[in-house]
């Protein structure tokens, strides 16, 4: 295999594939982490409200 005159093209193709796949995966994972971070204050707020509800179940009273 190493004697093939076009081996560089094969290596370049696999390197390109790796770069594109890694770029797509990293973009999606980074986006997910950013969204989770942005949503965390709302999740905490919802948790606090859920904890407060049993103490005062009827807001009218």
């Amino acid at each position: 295999m190493s004697h093939d005159p076009h081996l560089g093209f094969v290596i370049a193709a696999y390197a390109l594939a790796l770069a594109i796949v890694v770029a797509m995966a990293v973009t999606i994972i980074t986006d997910y982490l950013n969204l989770k971070r942005a949503l965390s204050p709302f999740a905490e707020q919802a948790k606090d409200q859920a904890l407060e509800l049993p103490r005062n179940p009827d807001p009218e009273s």
């Binding site: 295999m1 076009h6 094969v10 193709a13 390109l16 594109i20 969204l35 949503l39």
Partner: protein, 260 residues
Amino acid sequence: MNCMLNFASPTHFLRLARVLIPLSATLTALLLGIGLYLAFFVAPPDYQQGETVRIMYLHVPAAWLAMLIYLVMTSAALGTLVWRHPLADAAQKAAAPLGAGFTLLCLGTGSLWGKPMWGAWWVWDARLTSVLVLFLIYLGLVALWRTIEDPGKAARSAAIFTLVGAVNIPIIKFSVDWWNTLHQPASVFRLGGPAIAASMLWPLAVMALAFTFLFATLYLMAIRNEILRRRLRRLSILAADAEERSAASAPSAWNAAYEP
């Protein structure tokens, strides 16, 4: 149909994605490992192309996915326009960058395969040109979602654009039959059966399956991101609204307290 629509609700999807993403990622890693082993150590070099034929194990699955993703987007576009299902728009929006990525991979590996075999990085052949048009359609769709601020309008515009662009898929598939092209005709999905040797067909099939699972994993993750993005937008609007209402009521309470 109703049951299916209920099943495809964003909440159900998030629950399902939590199970499916690790499963699909594991299958992708396993199949990619087997596929690369078969492609490099089991499949023989081609009698004419030599080792360069190993680019086929990347190029062909990427080309299949480039078209498959567009078909997925077309069905999602119908879901957006006909049933107005919230997940259909998210599914369509999440697929476009992945489609662009796999089409770029197809064009890039094709160019790297073409230079040593044809003596040119690029030729304005019908197959190559129609795939380039597909890549531009994907980029146009990504740009469309980013340009239109109203998500509803963006979804409908993108769905119409996707349906119009679907005409390019049969052109890509049959370009090698309709026109005299430098690109070779179909050698796997053809009437007389596959034209390539089994020793090369099996590694190609495993790599195609691995790429399909890779797309499925990334796609599930991207749809999950879209659902979370919509949730964040909705919650931010609600929070801003609540803040505005409390700000509006505060001065009146203040005034009331200080009225003589």
